[in-house]
């Protein structure tokens, strides 16, 4: 095994942090204690965790409607995430944005927004800024398979390739865009990663549930980008274990989840956390007690994050117009 214990433990812990906090939202959503629309990323943790392992604080990330993992993996504070979802003044967006608008500029997380494809060109702009300033910051644009339908992606790839911008287009292909299977959105001979080819952009298709594969390929891509070789396109095959929005669209009555049970079960077996756990145990990096200790630590952190949110105030009505202009 070419990795050391601490490094792998770090990846594991970050994935567990994301999963545990995601799952902690399930009951409050069903109880309607959480009101804002929440797009859980359970099952997709390996992508941002594997990528962020090669990013520095100064590198840029732009996210989507499903960005809890992007935010946490880039160093975002868990308490501020929970508080944002509860609409508190202490949330990372001061309760003005909710789950779909996560930001942490100090850690390079420049924002997330639910307009599909809407942040791709913004990440392009961050890459442009980095090129103009010559400071080798790499820009990550996260988007889903659904966003490949938007023209903005194609336009951004062309410009990135033309200017050799340090951007990585990261497509989290979880096979669905809300209620729609990918086969209803794209001709099935039309692989997503191939979209990069006519733009002469280096591209990869990677098992997005294997955090080590994610890490290895994205490390290579990030270095390539950082050295000024131009953009990279990465497609990660993954799957959301929860509904499109909230824990289970069918329980909630939104009825957008038409995914076959067998398919869901198949992907549950490819759970990225269980897979890394197996590696950790089989290589005797960790024993079960140590693994449990990580989970315990994380549970404590999540508990603290909820307490932080619970103890925080809602924004005050007198501040309704605060933040319209600086």
């Amino acid at each position: 095994m070419k990795y050391n214990k601490d490094f792998l433990g770090g990846l594991y812990k970050m994935m567990v942090r994301i999963r545990t906090v995601e799952e902690s939202f399930v009951q409050p959503i069903l109880d309607k204690k959480i009101i804002c629309p929440v797009h859980l990323c359970s099952g997709e943790e390996a992508v941002p965790v594997g990528i962020s392992a090669s990013l520095s604080k100064k590198d840029f990330v732009f996210g989507t409607h499903r960005s809890h993992g992007h935010y946490l993996a880039k160093g975002g504070d868990m308490g501020e995430l929970v508080a944002e979802i509860y609409g508190k003044e202490t949330g990372c967006s001061r309760g003005r944005g909710g789950s779909m608008h996560l930001i942490d500029p100090e850690n390079g997380m420049l924002g997330a927004a639910p307009i599909v494809g809407g942040t791709i060109s913004l990440a392009l702009g961050a890459a442009l800024a980095s090129q103009i300033r010559k400071n080798k910051q790499v820009s990550i644009s996260y988007f889903g398979d659904g966003a490949t339908g938007e023209g903005a992606l194609s336009e951004s790839m062309n410009f990135a390739s033309l200017k050799k911008l340090p951007i990585i287009f990261v497509c989290e292909n979880n096979l669905y865009s809300t209620h729609m299977h990918i086969s209803k959105m794209r001709d099935n001979t039309n692989n997503i990663a191939d979209l990069a080819k006519p733009h002469n952009i280096k591209s990869y298709t990677v098992d997005g549930n294997d955090v080590l594969k994610v890490y290895e390929t994205s490390k290579e891509a990030i270095e390539y980008c950082r050295e000024g070789n131009g953009p990279v396109f990465m497609e990660f095959l993954t799957y959301r274990q929860r509904g499109h929005v909230g824990p289970d669209d069918n329980i909630q009555g939104t009825h957008t989840d038409i995914r076959p049970r067998e398919e869901i079960n198949e992907w549950l077996e490819k759970d990225p956390i269980l897979r890394l756990k197996k590696v950790l145990l089989e290589n005797n990096f960790f024993n079960n007690a140590e693994i449990n200790k990580i989970h315990k630590e994380v549970e404590l952190e999540v508990e603290k994050a909820f307490i932080f949110s619970d103890n925080s105030n809602k924004p005050q009505i007198k501040d309704l117009s605060k933040y319209v202009y600086k």
Partner: protein, 330 residues
């Protein structure tokens, strides 16, 4: 029209209008994201795929610009498309085909080809959805020459206006609002049209004129009913279509009452409420006995936190407050 006591919800009236027009006119088709998913379009498209097939009821990839452009192009080529956007916010990707192309096409081509198209953005807000899932942009569309804009508030009106929109040879923006979907009224079974530019007086009164449309008309009705109990007789006008606008119905009422409140569910600056105020200030100046009041959203993006949402969104209470202010003006 036959006397009819059948009650239908607003959203099912939309459904029926589309269904009946698709039955009688093969050039009508529906395209847009989520037409097969109630999560996106409520029950407005229920049964359409089953009846007309996927060729005429087309759920699409997430490609608002191309899909809207394709609807515009199909209209130019002789079809009568209805292009739906489950949120007007998503439709902002499609401003080029709507504003540059569809709205201008007939004029800039000297009347050689028109664009018989219904553009159907749905407003859906509240529930802490924040700034990109809450916008109401009817005033923006009203600003564009070449577009017609309808903004119904009842089941009866939406069916008749939507049928008129489908039959209209021009691009018509159908302002739809999820908050109205459950409203019920009597709706005739058959196909009927409501002409554009004809408002309706929902309540006759002498004390003040209240003008509204779309969801705010529901709140305006509530305000009117409450004020009746308090001895204020509101003349409430639902204009139903923003463009063309029934100026006469508003002016005639203001000539009688001398007082005007306009309730518009979007932001204040550049709002359609401002347009109505300007028209009345110009054409009924000498009849006005008090300054005109507008009930609008503040010029602020929609917040997430429900604490702020409560202060942000407007309802019948805000209308009542404004009416009292104008009525008591000295």
């Amino acid at each position: 029209m036959s006397i009819n006591n059948r009650k239908l919800t607003y959203s099912l009236a939309v459904n029926e209008a589309i269904k009946q027009m698709m039955e009688i006119d093969e050039s009508v088709f529906v395209i847009g994201q989520g037409v097969e998913s109630p999560w996106y379009v409520g029950n407005t498209c229920t049964g359409l795929i089953e009846e007309f097939g996927e060729e005429r009821v087309i759920d699409t990839p997430v490609s608002e610009n191309a899909i809207t452009g394709s609807a515009v192009g199909a209209a130019i080529a002789g079809m009568k498309p209805i292009v739906v956007h489950p949120r007007v916010d998503f439709m902002l990707y499609a401003f080029d085909p709507i504003i540059n192309q569809a709205a201008n096409w007939y004029y800039m081509n000297g009347g050689r080809a028109s664009v018989p198209l219904v553009i159907w953005p749905i407003v859906n807000r509240g529930g802490e959805q924040a700034a990109q899932h809450s916008q109401a942009l009817h005033s923006l569309f009203a600003h564009i020459p070449g577009l017609k804009v309808i903004a119904p508030s009842t089941a009866y009106d939406v069916k008749g206006l939507l049928i008129s929109a489908i039959k209209d040879p021009n691009p018509v923006v159908f302002i739809d609002d999820r908050w109205i979907y459950g409203q019920e009224s009597n709706v005739p079974n058959e196909i009927y049209e409501i002409p554009f530019g004809k408002g309706t007086i929902r309540n006759e009164g002498n004390d003040i004129t209240l003008v509204s449309f779309s969801y705010m008309a529901v709140e305006a009705q509530k305000a009117t009913d409450e004020l009746k109990n308090k001895g204020i007789n509101v003349e409430f006008i639902d204009i139903r279509t923003i463009k063309p606008l029934d100026e006469d119905i508003i002016l005639n009422s203001v000539k009688k009452t001398g007082k005007l409140v306009i309730a518009d569910g979007s932001w204040r600056t550049g709002s359609f409420a401002a347009e109505i105020a300007a028209i009345v200030a110009q054409k009924a100046f000498k009849y006005l006995k008090a300054p005109i009041e507008r009930v609008t959203l503040p010029d602020i993006p929609a917040p997430a936190s429900s604490e702020l949402e409560k202060a942000y969104y407007i309802n019948s209470d805000n209308i009542i407050e404004a009416i009292k202010k104008v009525v008591n003006y000295k």
